[in-house]
């Protein structure tokens, strides 16, 4: 088992005061809160910080933890001493539904668990707790609907009454037109209440993986479409990929880079359906050979054009 240096996690000295620990926690919690943070490993860091604070904020747990000393030397395995916890009265962890590390579980787990499960039950007797999970889907799932195999981490109480995180694989029919941030509700797939009663529901929050072609904005989709300078200037009909297949798109005469063309109702098929936006980008052909160079030169001679006129030069 890996030894956790809670002081290092919180970035405080071993003799830090309660006020300093609280201050450090507040700062780190704001930084890594999964609802707020855009850091890549925010969720893992937040859990780690929460666990460290759980121990260091409680004088009893902190005193017990301090007794362990600095932990084993690097690379050495940590085992709680046989007389661990003797003489300490732990007042239990909060009713958080996050999973603690093995290290925390070994030191404070059993007692904290008993306390928090008392607090959790009984809220609405006979009604199981709802479960919430987040999944990352491909955009095609909402564009066309279809079944996806989802693998979820679900908290479960095992035979010894400990809270463990189990993998659960479900085949789920994804409703066509679901948007990022919305939930699929699977009735009766949440936790079973002890004894008789109705199981809770499972709420699956949907997010999308980035798509290779389209950007997603709510129910609307955006595509950058490269066009040749003459297609933009003279107008043209060009082939364009859309979620419902390739279409012939009319580029109006006099278009420029950034011109946005809207294909109404061709975004995500929600209700109401989103729109599909094509944003034009001008692609320049290379002046690779003498013919192309001559064409550029002829254009320079024929068209008086100062692209920097707006800069006043």
């Amino acid at each position: 088992m890996e030894f956790k240096d809670y002081y290092k996690v919180m970035g405080v000295a071993r003799d830090a005061t309660e006020a300093q620990i609280k201050q450090a926690y507040r700062k780190l919690a704001r930084k890594y809160h999964p609802d707020v943070s855009k850091e890549k490993d925010a969720e893992a860091r937040f859990k780690e910080v929460g666990e460290a604070y759980e121990v260091l904020k409680s004088p009893e747990k902190r005193a017990a933890y301090d007794q362990l000393g600095q932990g084993p030397r690097p690379g050495e395995d940590f085992r709680p001493p046989p007389d661990w916890g003797a003489g300490f009265e732990f007042s239990g962890a909060g009713a958080r539904d996050s999973d603690y590390s093995d290290f925390f579980e070994a030191l404070f787990g059993a007692r904290a668990r008993a306390e928090s499960s008392n607090r959790r039950g009984g809220f609405h007797p006979g009604q199981g707790v709802d479960h919430h999970a987040k999944v990352l889907l491909d955009l095609d799932a909402t564009l066309h609907g279809g079944t996806r195999q989802l693998s979820l981490r679900v908290p479960e109480i095992d035979a010894e009454g400990r809270l463990v995180s189990k993998e659960r694989v479900l085949n789920v029919q994804v409703p066509k037109g679901i948007l990022a941030g919305q939930h699929i509700r699977l009735a009766g797939q949440g936790a079973r209440p002890p004894g008789e009663g109705t199981p809770g529901d499972l709420f699956i929050e949907v997010e999308f993986q980035p798509h290779s072609l389209y950007r997603i904005d709510g129910r609307d989709l955006y595509l950058d479409l490269p066009v040749a300078p003459w297609e933009a200037a003279l107008g043209a009909t060009v082939k364009t990929p859309t979620p419902t297949g390739t279409v012939d798109l009319k580029i109006p005469q006099g278009s420029h880079a950034g011109t946005k063309l809207r294909l109404k109702g061709r975004g995500i098929p929600a209700s109401p359906p989103g729109d599909f936006y094509v944003v034009l980008q001008i692609a320049l052909p290379a002046a690779g050979d003498d013919k192309a160079k001559a064409a550029y030169a002829a254009m320079a001679a024929a068209v008086p054009f100062n692209p920097r006129a707006s800069l006043g030069v």
Binding site: R120, V129, E167, Q173, I204, D217, Y277
Partner: protein, 103 residues
Amino acid sequence: MSSSNDQALSGAIFEESALLTIKDLSRMCAVDERHIVEYVEEGVLSVVEINAAEWHFTGAALRRARRALRLERDLEINLAGVALALELMEEVERLRRELEARR
């Protein structure tokens, strides 16, 4: 319960299908009904305007309420602070999406 089911489960899009009573919301968030009332008073949650004696919420209120609860619990923010944080977070999300769409 942890094995794979052969038959696909199907469920509705919660945000579009659900109309929640204060009792539903309180149960789903595992908080007291009074706490939901406080959220409404502080403007964290809004009630759907329908001609009913009882308050109703859209499914979208669940995500907002759960987020508010997490902020309150994890960051020890008071209600007014939660309301402000939620508004600012939504503003940031909107701006990020706009930026992404303009990129």
